[in-house]
């Protein structure tokens, strides 16, 4: 058969690829392949000139297929597909060879890397030959949204949708809204009232006709696809366990499940749980809230010590920074001085993360009220012990103070441990439920850390707030709104395109054995008793291809991942 006319484009990605791979050589070798009529190498293929170059060639050389050797398709496949489309070529006539993440960034031997790049390009050229023109399906966008988690993030997002007059289902595991912020009295760095923020949000949410608040409820299952999810929510009716389940239709899901505080008792040398007056930040919040800043014995502490990075930035627990503890600690220093003017506060930290608006000023003011800042090294955290009876304090904290180089002990009657943030224990469950992935610490992974901090790998499912990573209130609120913005955009358009990649049954070949029916996790394959054949409901199919591999009579075809395409690719890489 006559090979379709193919164009090959090798991206230098500045020096990211060119530094290791000889891009011109790759282009030249590609030019030798059957069907390739033009092969070029350029600095940034994804840039405007780069895309225009492709469009121009498609016109001039009447290209039928395009191969772009550049970064991972997970990054720019959509970009180049769009480029093909604007040039009047079916977007699925594109194939990308990943010569950055898989070659130039992981190999340093130029010759070998170039060799591998050539092979990958060869494979891509082989494969693209067998590509077929596919059309994206356009489906209706359901204007309702499911929000999981009734904290500040969840409520903020909910109010955005409600404000636009769209229906929201707000599902909260506990019997009240507010999340972790409801346990806080004042916010850093301006010591504004947290309870005012929460009260405001809760009133607005509960009073809003568009928001269906479900307390004591959990999402049981989520089926369907972007724009057309069906969620089942189980409501705990307290005493007699499982309550009624409701099922709702939603177009998108926002996950705002938040965080859980680090368990301080895991850090043995702080003696939390053993020493009565070593408490966690949240326990101290309660003290402040009740206006009783005192020891377990009811005495007023003369010396108060605050220890940062409990469970965070630590070799044995979490490597990451919990982002809010530093400012919260300064807040406590301030609050202790206010409640107990005669007290002395020492703040034992690693690095003072006062990065945000108003924070450095807050840090300076905290120093001016004579907070004693002591710096310790991550490797060697402080050790708390009981003081001798004749001491004027209850405990002594031994710390190798970095800024003086001295090993000192500081008196303390009350010790506040700044416990970090941790992924909730049910985050794995939630991830599976809504089909998103988690990083090594259990935080949900965004589809791109910079471009797309609130979207996930599963279209239609978004994450906001501290369930993605620790962050403070303003950043959480911004993210919640960002997620809402994304979804409102889709809702405003009313329709969404969904990928044209799904499975198809060739009914002539189908023997009606129904193996595939049980196999499909999305019950997307229907058996027609009449014709005694199975067929795929394309909208439901997520193109995993399990059925394809399993079909004994080879009757099922995975669009865009056909056997021919993959065989061709295999031949390519091994050529």
């Amino acid at each position: 058969m006559e090979e379709p006319r193919t164009g090959v484009y090798v991206c230098n990605c500045g020096t990211n690829i060119a530094k290791v791979v000889d891009c011109d050589a790759v282009a030249d070798s590609a030019a030798q392949l059957p069907g390739v009529v033009v092969a070029r190498s350029y600095k940034y293929m994804c840039s405007n000139p780069g895309q225009e170059m492709i469009a121009q060639d498609i016109e001039e050389h009447a290209l039928e297929r395009v191969v772009v050797a550049a970064c991972s398709p997970r990054m720019h496949e959509p970009t180049f597909r769009r480029a093909l489309q604007t040039a009047g070529l079916n977007p699925y006539f594109l194939e990308m060879a990943n010569i950055r993440e898989q070659v130039s960034w992981v190999h340093d031997d130029g010759a070998v890397a170039t060799q591998k790049a050539k092979a990958l390009v060869h494979a891509a050229v082989n494969r693209v030959v067998h590509h077929e023109p596919l059309d994206r399906m356009s489906v209706d966008m359901c204007p309702n949204t499911l929000i999981i988690g009734g904290g500040i993030a969840g409520m903020t997002a909910a109010l955005e949708f409600a404000g636009a007059g769209k229906q929201v289902y707000l599902v909260e595991k506990l019997d009240h809204l507010g999340g972790n912020l409801a346990r806080v009295d004042l916010t850093a760095p301006y010591l504004d009232s947290a309870r005012d923020i929460i009260a405001d949000r809760i009133t607005r949410v509960t009073d809003n006709e568009h928001i269906d608040v479900m307390l004591d409820a959990q999402v049981q299952s989520l089926d369907g696809f972007v724009g057309n999810f069906k969620a089942t929510i189980r409501r705990e009716t307290g005493l007699e366990g499982d309550g009624p389940t409701v099922s709702v239709d939603v177009g998108s899901v926002v996950v705002c499940t938040g965080y859980k505080e680090f368990d301080a008792s895991r850090v043995t040398h702080y003696g939390y749980g053993k020493l009565p007056n070593v408490i966690t930040s949240f326990e101290f919040e309660r003290m402040l809230h009740e206006g009783r800043v005192e020891t377990k014995e009811g005495r007023l502490p003369q010396y108060v010590a605050i220890i940062h990075c409990v469970g965070s930035r630590s070799p044995e627990f979490h490597a990451y920074c919990s982002r809010v503890c530093c400012m919260t600690a300064l807040k406590y220093a301030r609050e202790v001085k206010s409640a107990l003017p005669k007290s002395y506060v020492s703040d034992i930290y690693v690095d003072m993360h006062a990065f945000g608006k108003g924070m450095e000023d807050f840090y300076r003011r905290s120093a001016e009220i004579k907070t004693l800042f002591l710096m310790y090294e991550r490797g060697e955290p402080p050790v708390i012990r009981r003081a001798d009876p004749d001491d004027d304090c209850e405990m002594l904290i031994e710390v190798h103070e970095q800024l003086s180089g001295e090993v000192i002990e500081i008196p303390a009657d009350l010790v506040i441990l700044m416990v970090g943030m941790e992924a909730r224990e049910d985050s794995g469950e939630v991830a599976r439920l809504v089909n998103i992935s988690r990083d090594k610490d259990g935080w949900f992974i965004e589809s791109h850390p910079k471009l797309d901090p609130v979207a996930t790998t599963t279209e239609g499912v978004y994450i906001a707030g501290t369930c993605a990573a620790p962050k403070d209130i303003p950043d959480t609120v911004a993210q919640a709104r960002a997620a809402a913005g994304r979804i409102l955009g889709k809702i405003a358009r009313g329709k969404i395109d969904i990928d044209a990649v799904y499975a198809e049954v060739d009914e002539d070949k189908c023997s009606g054995c129904r193996v595939c029916n049980e196999l499909c996790p999305y019950v997307a394959i229907e058996y027609d008793a009449e014709t005694r054949r199975s067929h795929v409901i394309s909208a439901l199919c997520k193109a995993c291809g399990a059925c394809v591999a399993a079909c004994p009579s080879g009757a099922i075809k995975a669009r865009h991942f056909t056997d021919e395409q993959i065989f061709a690719q295999i031949e390519g890489v091994l050529a």
Partner: protein, 381 residues
């Protein structure tokens, strides 16, 4: 063994003038810009740190504050306005009060009222003392000659008596300074030889203040030196040539020429310092502790009364001269008795001693851990 930190020390140092030290967030800028901050004496950040943490014993064993001449560069470039220079100054005040075993110094620095009160008290005692003495054996109209009201011979004896007392006080305090900073540190074994070989530093630093001259601006050093030399000249004249000074009414040029020079030096330098402090003309004059004022005013007053007394005497006005003499003494005595051992003036002894001890300690430290090339240190870090 861990050292106990004392969060309360900060409060204790406030009256000494160290209220801004709390602002320091330890960027290390000051220690790097300071022309005097070199291994093994890196400051002012480190002492500031000890102060923040209330490591009292550490501070007591610090020589650093005395190695600082308060040229103000550190304070000018401090990003947090923590006033490192002023903190060093207040530490010097605090250390003075620690070296002084009588505890008087502490009272002076903590309350200026107390210091002023003491000055007045001593002044009154002096007046009463000398008047009774004068009337008991002389004639108020006679300044010199046979039945002089205050014969130089007896005043001379009084001077020497006073000198001995002051010396005793100063030496005992200096000894304590040595003990805190060098003596008690078991870990560093100071070779006796070092004490001897470095001894020359004492007079050198005392008479030249040469270290001060390393500051960016030279004028403070010049004036300071003028003050010191004038004072010393006066001291020598009074201790050894009092008789010739008091002789007259004719001017005895052999001694008086020195007297004139010294007086001019004293008046000019004190006036200049006072003006700068009033105008806050430079960083180091921005913050003035009460003790600074008391000292300068006292010194100026002493000089002025001295001049007047001299003039009156030369113009043969016995009565007036004697009265001015008594006034003069009423200022000199408290200045010597109170300022030298217990207040600002004491640094004339502590500073040179600190330079000396610093070098002596450096020898010992070098023995303990030979310094290595900084960047190299990092490389292995």
């Amino acid at each position: 063994m861990a050292i106990r930190a004392n969060p309360k020390l900060i409060d204790e140092l406030e009256p000494y003038g160290a209220e801004d030290v709390v602002k320091c967030y330890h960027c290390g800028n000051c220690s790097a810009v300071c022309p005097f901050s070199k291994q093994p004496y890196v400051f002012p950040r480190k002492p500031m740190r000890f102060l923040q943490m209330g490591l009292e014993e550490k501070l007591k064993s610090e020589l650093d504050p005395w190695l600082c001449y308060y040229c103000g560069q550190c304070s000018d470039q401090c990003p947090r306005d923590a006033e490192p220079g002023e903190t060093m100054m207040s530490l010097r005040r605090w250390l003075t009060s620690r070296y002084d075993w009588t505890g008087i110094s502490r009272l002076f620095y903590k309350s200026w009222r107390f210091e002023v009160g003491a000055v007045i008290l001593v002044a009154l005692l002096t007046v009463i003392g000398f008047l009774t003495f004068g009337f008991s054996q002389g004639n108020i109209d006679h300044y010199d000659g046979p039945n002089a009201f205050l014969p130089s011979s007896s005043i001379h004896i009084f001077d020497w008596g006073l000198a001995v007392v002051l010396l005793a006080l100063l030496l005992s305090n200096a000894a304590r300074m040595w003990w805190f900073t060098t003596g008690r540190d078991k870990s560093l074994r100071v070779p006796l030889g070092a004490y001897v070989t470095k001894a020359y530093l004492l007079p050198v630093h005392f008479f030249t203040q040469k270290r001060y001259s390393q500051c960016e601006h030279k004028s403070p050093w010049a004036i300071h030196l003028a003050l010191v030399l004038s004072y010393v000249t006066m001291l020598v004249l009074i201790m050894f040539f009092l008789r010739d000074m008091a002789s007259g009414p004719a001017v005895d040029w052999r001694v008086h020429v020195f007297g004139y020079l010294a007086t001019v030096g004293l008046v000019v330098s004190t006036v200049v310092f006072l003006r700068r402090r009033i105008r806050k003309s430079a960083t180091q004059y921005k913050h003035s502790h009460e003790s600074d004022w008391i000292f300068l005013i006292l010194l100026l007053a002493v000089a002025v009364t001295g001049i007047l007394q001299h003039i009156l005497h030369r113009s043969d006005l016995g009565l007036e001269a004697n009265m001015m003499y008594v006034t003069h003494l009423a200022l000199v005595v408290p200045m010597l008795v109170l300022e030298v051992p217990f207040s600002k003036w004491s640094h004339l002894a502590y500073r040179p001693l600190a330079m000396y001890l610093a070098d002596v300690r450096a020898v010992a430290l070098e023995r303990r851990e030979p310094a290595s090339e900084p960047a190299g240190e990092l490389r292995t870090a």
